[in-house]
C-alpha cells in the first residue's frame, strides 16, 4: 500500500511539473479591447509619444510596448515567430530585406492599396528600403542623417577661417595637415580628420558621390571593383600614407563615448557625424565652439549623405494585423512625429518629409536644416540587402587591409567582392528554393 502511495505521489509531482510547461499566459481582462504587443529595440525609459498618444485617442486598442535589448532582439523576435507567438508589431533598424527574405514579415501592399496610403510623405531613400522584391513590408518611423562637423576653436588656433569649412575632400586633406598637434615624444595630441574613425565610413560616402553602383539592378551581382569605390579607397590610402598607422591607432584607442568621444573631447577637428551630436555636445561639452556644414565632395560632384531607417512592421503570424496597421499609420503622421521630435529633442529624425521640413522642426536645432537637406540626397548603408552583414564585414576588412598596406585597393576590394558574391549567390539560391516549396501569401 505504502509503495502505491509513493508511486502515485511521485507521478503527481511529475505531472504537476509537466503542467507548468503548458500553463497559458496570464489572460488580460476581458473588456473587448485589442491589446497590441509592440516590441521595440530601444533603450527609452518612458513610453514614446506615438504610443501614449495612440492609447489616449483610441478606445478599443491598447498598445503595450516592450523594449528589447539591442544585442538580443534578433534572436528574441525570430524565436517568437518560430513558436507562432509573435508580437503584433516590431520596431527595428536592420535592413527590411533581411527579414522579408526570411518570410518573417507580413506584406503590407493590400492594406496600402485599400487605404490609398500616401507613401510620398517619406524620404525616398527610406521608402525604397521598405521594399523587397515586389512587396512593401514596413513603414519607416525614424531616420538619421549625417553632416560635416568642424571645431571652430581648433580652426582658429591653426590659423584657418572658422567660417569657411572645407568644401572638397582635397581641402579636408589640406586642412587636416594644419590641424595636427603632437607632444614632445611625437605622439598625436590632436588630429584634423581620420577617415576610419566614426560610425559612418567616409569611403562609402565618397564612392557614392562619385556614382558607385555596387549592386546590379536585379540585386544579383556585386561590383566592388568599380572605379568610384577604388577611387575612394585611394583617397584613404593617400591619407594614411602621411602617417604611421600605429600612431593613428594609438591615438584612436584613447577615445570612447560621451565626453571621451574624439570630436566632443576636441581631439579631432573634423568629423562626419549624425544628427544626435548637437544634443550630445550640449550634454557633454557645452562650450564646444563648432559648426555643421554639408559633407565635402570631390570637385564637381554633388554631396551625398548616409541615412538609416528605424521601421515598423507586422511579423508573420501576428494576430492583430488590422489594429497593428492602424497604429503604424498613426505613428508616421506629421503631427505625431513633430511632437515626438520636440519631446526627445530630435535625437531620432522623423521619416516624414512634411515633419522634417516643418519650420517648427527646423527651429528645434540650428543644424537641422543641413541635416534635412542632406537627407534628400542620402543613400542607405543597406548596400547589399540580402547579405548586409557579410557586405559590411568584408568591406571593413578590405579597408583595414588597405590601411595596413597589406593589399592594394583593387586587390582588397576584389577579395571582398568574391566573398560577398558567394554569399549572395547562395542566399538567392536558398530563397528561390524556399519560394518554390512554400506558397507565399
Amino acid at each position: 500500500m505504502k509503495q502505491i502511495i509513493k508511486i502515485v505521489l511521485s507521478l503527481a509531482v511529475l505531472i504537476a511539473m509537466g503542467l507548468f510547461l503548458f500553463m497559458p499566459d496570464s489572460k488580460p481582462p476581458n473588456d473587448g479591447k485589442i491589446r497590441l504587443k509592440y516590441w521595440m529595440v530601444s533603450a527609452m525609459k518612458e513610453q514614446p509619444f506615438h504610443v501614449t498618444e495612440f492609447n489616449r485617442t483610441h478606445e478599443n486598442i491598447i498598445v503595450e510596448p516592450t523594449p528589447l535589448p539591442w544585442n538580443e532582439h534578433e534572436k528574441k523576435i525570430l524565436t517568437s515567430i518560430l513558436s507562432e507567438n509573435p508580437p503584433d508589431l516590431v520596431f527595428l533598424v536592420t535592413p527590411v530585406a533581411k527579414w522579408a527574405t526570411r518570410l518573417a514579415l507580413t506584406p503590407l501592399d493590400d492594406l496600402i492599396k485599400r487605404d490609398s496610403f500616401d507613401s510620398t510623405i517619406f524620404f525616398s531613400a527610406l521608402w525604397s528600403e521598405m521594399r523587397f522584391k515586389d512587396n512593401i513590408y514596413a513603414l519607416p518611423l525614424y531616420s538619421n542623417s549625417y553632416a560635416f562637423f568642424f571645431n571652430k576653436k581648433l580652426f582658429r588656433e591653426a590659423g584657418l577661417d572658422p567660417e569657411n569649412p572645407p568644401k572638397t575632400w582635397d581641402d579636408v586633406l589640406e586642412y587636416s595637415s594644419w590641424l595636427i598637434k603632437k607632444d614632445e615624444k611625437g605622439n598625436f595630441k590632436q588630429m584634423g580628420f581620420i577617415p576610419t574613425y566614426g560610425n559612418v565610413q567616409t569611403s562609402i560616402i565618397m564612392a557614392w558621390e562619385l556614382g558607385a553602383q555596387i549592386l546590379s539592378i536585379d540585386g544579383a551581382k556585386v561590383n566592388l571593383t568599380n572605379q568610384p569605390t577604388i577611387e575612394a579607397f585611394n583617397w584613404t590610402v593617400n591619407f594614411y600614407s602621411q602617417f604611421n598607422i600605429k600612431d593613428v591607432s594609438t591615438f584612436i584607442a584613447g577615445f570612447g563615448f560621451a565626453e571621451q568621444h574624439g570630436f566632443i573631447s576636441e581631439k579631432i577637428a573634423m568629423m562626419v557625424l549624425d544628427n544626435s551630436f548637437p544634443d550630445q555636445i550640449k550634454l557633454y561639452n557645452k562650450n564646444l565652439d563648432y559648426g555643421v556644414a554639408e559633407i565635402p565632395t570631390f570637385k564637381g560632384y554633388a554631396p551625398v549623405s548616409s541615412t538609416g531607417s528605424w521601421w515598423l512592421a507586422i511579423p508573420r503570424g501576428a494576430k492583430n494585423k488590422e489594429a497593428a496597421w492602424e497604429f503604424m499609420k498613426f505613428a508616421v503622421q506629421k503631427n505625431i512625429q513633430l511632437t515626438e521630435a520636440e519631446r526627445q529633442k530630435a535625437l531620432l529624425f522623423p521619416s516624414n518629409k512634411l515633419t522634417a521640413n516643418n519650420p517648427a522642426f527646423l527651429s528645434l536645432n540650428e543644424s537641422n536644416k543641413i541635416f534635412v537637406d542632406l537627407l534628400e540626397h542620402s543613400k542607405t548603408p543597406t548596400v547589399v540587402p540580402l547579405v548586409h552583414d557579410v557586405f559590411w564585414r568584408e568591406y571593413m576588412g578590405a579597408q583595414e587591409r588597405v590601411v595596413h598596406k597589406i593589399q592594394s585597393p583593387f586587390d582588397a576590394l576584389k577579395q571582398a567582392e568574391k566573398t560577398i558574391q558567394i554569399h549572395l549567390d547562395e542566399t538567392i539560391e536558398y530563397d528561390n528554393y524556399v519560394r518554390s516549396q512554400v506558397s507565399i501569401k
Binding site: I7, S10, L11, L14, L78, A104, S249, T250, R401, Y430
Partner: protein, 302 residues
C-alpha cells in the same frame, strides 16, 4: 560475474530508479539529444531557422574546407592560441602550487590571494583587460612607459593580439587548476623526498624525479582539459576585439557564433560545430596515445 535475482523488491527499486531518472532523461532527450541529432542533419542543409532547410549533402563541409578562407584563418588562430596558452597555464599553475605548498608563515593568505582573481567571470575579466591593454591610457603601457619602454599596441596590433589574450589567462593560474595541483602535491609521500635526500639530491632532482612523475596524471588531465578549453576560446575575442584586427583574433568559436547568430547560417554553423568536435577528438586521442610514455599512475608500471 554477479547475478542479480530479480525479485519483487528489486523490481520496485528499478521502477523508482527509472522514475527518478526520468526528469533528467526527458530533459536530456529534449534539450540534449534531439538538438544534437538535428544539428547533424542541419549541417547537411542550408538553414536559417525561419525557413525550411534545403538539403545540400556535404556542401557545407566542402565549402568549409576548400573555399572558405576564414575557416583556415580561424583554425590557425585557435591553434596558435592553444599552443601558446596551454603550456603557460599548466606550468604557471604548477609552479604556483609548488610555491604555496611550502610551509611558510601566512601561506593560507597567499593561497587565497592567488585564488581570488579566478572568481572573476570572463566578461568582466575581458572588460578589465581591455582597459589594461589600452595603448594610450592602459595600466600596462603606462607602467612600461614609466620604465622607459615603449609599449606595443596590444589588442590593436595583429602581431600582438593573440599573445595579449594568452597573457590574460595568466590571471587565472591561481584558480582551480592550482588547487588540484596543490592537493596532488600534498598527496606525494614524504618518504620519496627523503630517499632523494639520502641519495644527496637537491631540489631540482626532487622536482624532476619525484614531483613531476607523481603529478603526471594530474598534469595529463589538465593538458587534455586545457586544450579543449582553448579550442573553445570565445568570450575574450567576442568582448574585446570581435575578431580583429585583420582577423588575427577570429577564433573558431567566434566564427561559428558569427555564422550562426549574425548571418543565421545555422546549417553552416552546425557543420563548423561538428568539425570542431572531430578536431578536439583527434587531439585528445593523440594525447591519450602519447600519455602512455610519460604518465605514471600510482605504483603501476607499464
Amino acid at each position: 560475474m554477479i547475478h542479480f535475482k530479480i525479485n519483487k523488491f528489486n523490481k520496485q527499486q528499478a521502477v523508482f530508479g527509472i522514475l527518478f531518472m526520468m526528469p533528467w532523461f526527458i530533459g536530456f532527450i529534449i534539450f540534449g539529444l534531439y538538438p544534437m541529432i538535428m544539428s547533424i542533419y542541419y549541417s547537411l542543409c542550408r538553414y536559417d531557422v525561419l525557413r525550411i532547410p534545403q538539403f545540400i549533402g556535404f556542401g557545407n563541409y566542402e565549402k568549409l574546407i576548400f573555399e572558405d578562407p576564414y575557416f583556415w584563418i580561424s583554425i590557425s588562430n585557435t591553434l596558435v592560441y592553444t599552443v601558446l596558452r596551454v603550456p603557460l597555464c599548466i606550468i604557471g599553475s604548477l609552479l604556483l602550487a609548488v610555491l604555496v605548498n611550502n610551509a611558510v608563515r601566512g601561506v593560507k593568505f597567499f593561497r587565497t590571494i592567488y585564488f581570488i582573481p579566478s572568481i572573476v567571470t570572463g566578461v568582466v575579466l575581458s572588460v578589465v583587460w581591455l582597459w589594461m591593454f589600452n595603448p594610450q591610457f592602459g595600466l600596462i603601457n603606462s607602467f612600461l612607459a614609466y620604465m622607459g619602454i615603449p609599449g606595443p599596441l596590444w589588442l590593436l596590433d595583429p602581431n600582438w593580439s593573440k599573445p595579449s589574450m594568452v597573457l590574460m589567462s595568466v590571471w587565472s593560474i591561481g584558480g582551480g587548476r592550482m588547487l588540484v595541483f596543490l592537493a596532488a602535491l600534498q598527496g606525494v609521500p614524504k618518504h620519496l623526498f627523503e630517499a632523494v635526500d639520502i641519495d644527496g639530491g637537491g631540489w631540482w632532482a626532487k622536482f624532476k624525479n619525484i614531483t613531476i612523475p607523481m603529478l603526471s596524471p594530474v598534469i595529463f588531465l589538465w593538458s587534455v582539459l586545457e586544450i579543449i578549453f582553448s579550442l573553445q576560446v570565445f568570450v575574450e575575442a567576442y568582448i574585446m576585439t570581435q575578431g580583429g584586427p585583420l582577423n588575427s583574433t577570429m577564433f573558431y568559436n567566434l566564427y561559428l557564433y558569427n555564422k550562426a547568430f549574425n548571418d543565421f547560417e545555422m546549417g553552416y554553423a552546425s557543420a563548423l560545430a561538428w568539425l570542431l568536435l572531430v578536431i578536439s577528438l583527434i587531439i585528445t586521442v593523440i594525447q591519450f596515445r602519447l600519455s602512455k610514455r610519460w604518465v605514471h599512475y600510482d605504483g603501476v608500471t607499464k
